[in-house]
Symmetry: none
Subunit: 412 residues, 2 copies
């Protein structure tokens, strides 16, 4: 027995006036999702807890069976892992922005004009050569997409209890990084980060790439802002928890980072972009293929969240219909006598508020031995009447693994 | 967006033979509650946990979003706060009864013939003048309603781990107060309380007011019984948790005390009495008005609990119909495009057992963006089929605050 879990990022929503007070899921034509709900068992999940709006990282941790409220170590490490940095226990990771500051270190543009990757890569190469004054610590820096970058600190006695240098808005000065507790580790880490911020600035302010940018009328990327210090969570991989081989089809770095921490194999899919224009069928093919030598495959689609953050209900409906088409392909290809297929969302993203919200998400699971219920539609309200009732996100994985007979008996 | 929460104290019940095995809620004509359930989303709440009968204090704590199982500090402080005493961290509060004892300190009447407030006030004035032998502790004593009073101890090194002097029944001797653990704080507190009990008795036994009472044929109020030592819970106010301004319309001192600890503004309403004869519309007006400069208003009605403790099912039905009338006023006055209105009970009070019981309570929430369900009636059984499923009392507040966009995202 195997299991495939499809996660539509931010796919759940609240009723929308423009959709006649239906949610995008309720308004979409989605015969395959409805079929799955119809033959399967349904329910609703609070990804973290009732009313709590989850991030994509905490929600994914929960859907993989971890108690995010206990193990969440901040975003930094997941982002860095998702971008391919090797993060070890004790490392401290931060999210970074290439930014533009003036001579007084006032932030003029937190994104340096959304600098192109070509420029950012050249600048990043120069930064990698910097030496820290402390012998007992080292750093790794990579640029990722546009103005975004990741920083990893490695050494003895580091701490995540440090403030951000990123003020979060333009027009104010870069903040000095300060220890957030009285430990020597926090003081040490803050000192290293301030040193790095300064040395990065010294290299960047006179860098030829920035001179070219200014000549072209573009803002110079002359400062690296740090935020969101995080470290590796102390969690056991899925292989150890359930004795399974697990794979992940996802593009979003944050989600890939969580899956990597869970010990899943990260698959790269040509044409998968993390946008509404992603190649849905290419992702489906990769997931179906991954099932051949995995017990559990997670297939993550970022698109509905993107449409929601844009407040674009029409696009969200279209994206859901494309995911339904992707599901049709999957249901046609996998051996349904040997495979459980589940679909859910990692959280509600409201097209009205354009934010993650704490409302529950629908869940449906089909497969050989589920106790099918009366629900005939995959939607927020329909699934609330399902046989699974209302659960937490962290309960999904034990339920799937139980169906796969991968959970040890508790007791005798 | 704003939220109004209506709490019918003890409004939920078990099926009653005299109502054709309906509950009072099910038997009552309550078109406004049914409308709320019909357009809103419904569910049932276990105020504390399945099967656990809550007190009014623990239930209110839960409905305000606190984990009563973790933070409940005993009843004393809530009662004292509700009566207007200023309780600080470290203070120990006790509930007190004016009682009648004989020369052997055997309790003849735990309520001193339900002594009138006029007499109790005069006696209390005399007690306030007593000096404690310890310089490092002081006390505050106030009489409240009839035979009831509150005592507050302030000083260094106090403890709530002390037994009651109130034996709970007539015909037995007053109990000596004993420390309930081996700490010096518990020993110290017990010593002070025994000293106070003795000094109070010395003043009261020969007090002119008591001589007059005896002359009138009334039992003398010659002893103050202590029980329920409690202190301030360590909880954050709602303003800090959710960034909201919150107000409370309630008469019951215990409920007012909980709301005060939660940092809510306590409103006084003329004609509100905490009895079935309370001025329901005056309370409704106060709540609607409070919504103008509050994000969250809690409107508490004691009456159904009073009828339940009297085992008066007919009166309970009538009281529920009056609350429904109050709700009609509210729904007519508030801006329903900007306001979430929720109704629930703090606990089940059975007209049969005349006690708080651990059965869940119904909940309905209406408002702009709720995922309305199929439930068309506000009742214990109807709401159990609703879209919210079965939750704990402590989940209600996060759910309401999520609808108001007042909860920070957990994760990134």
């Amino acid at each position: 027995m195997k299991a495939l879990l499809i996660i539509g990022d931010g796919m759940a929503d609240r009723p929308l006036k423009e959709l006649g007070w239906k949610t995008p899921l309720e308004a979409a034509k989605k015969p395959s999702m409805d079929h799955l709900a119809s033959v399967g068992i349904c329910g609703i999940l609070d990804p973290i807890a009732p009313g709590i709006p989850p991030g994509s990282d905490t929600a994914t941790l929960s859907l993989l069976g971890y108690d995010a409220l206990k193990v969440y170590p901040g975003r930094g490490a997941f982002e860095a892992l998702g971008w391919g940095l090797e993060v070890a226990e004790g490392d401290v990771c931060l999210r970074c922005n290439f930014a533009t500051v003036d001579e007084n270190l006032t932030v003029l543009d937190r994104r340096a004009g959304r600098i192109a990757e070509a420029d950012a890569s050249k600048l990043a190469e120069s930064l990698k050569k910097i030496k820290l004054s402390r012998k007992n610590a080292e750093f790794f820096f990579i640029n990722t997409v546009q103005h975004r970058a990741a920083l990893l600190l490695r050494g003895k006695g580091l701490s995540t209890a440090v403030s951000d240098s990123d003020p979060g808005i333009n027009g104010v000065k870069v903040r000095e990084i300060k220890p957030l507790d009285s430990s020597p580790e926090a003081k040490f880490t803050a000192e290293i980060l301030n040193e790095l911020a300064n040395k990065f600035h010294q290299i960047l302010k006179d860098h030829p790439v920035n001179k070219e940018r200014v000549a072209r009328g573009q803002p110079p990327a002359n400062f690296i802002l740090f935020r969101g210090a995080g470290t590796m969570p102390k969690i056991k991989p899925l292989s150890e928890l359930y004795g399974i081989k697990a794979s992940c089809v996802a593009v979003t770095s944050l989600v890939r980072g969580v899956c990597k921490v869970a010990g899943m194999q990260l698959l790269d899919v040509k044409g998968a972009t993390g946008t509404p224009q992603t190649d849905y069928i290419a992702k489906a093919k990769a997931a179906v293929q991954a099932l051949e030598n995995s017990d559990f495959v997670m297939l993550h689609v970022k698109a509905p969240d993107v449409a929601s953050h844009d407040g674009n209900a029409k696009q969200k409906v279209e994206v859901i219909e494309k995911i339904d088409n992707m599901l049709a392909y999957i249901l046609n290809k996998v051996d349904l006598g040997e495979t459980y297929v589940a679909i859910t969302a990692d959280h509600t993203t409201s097209c009205t508020t354009r934010k993650h919200e704490g409302d529950p998400v629908p869940l449906a699971i089909m497969g050989p031995y589920v106790r099918g219920d009366d629900v005939e539609e995959f939607g927020e309200r329909a699934c609330a009447k399902g046989g699974l009732g209302r659960l937490r996100g962290k309960h999904l994985m034990p339920i799937l693994m139980n169906l796969l007979c991968k959970i040890k008996k508790f007791g005798a």
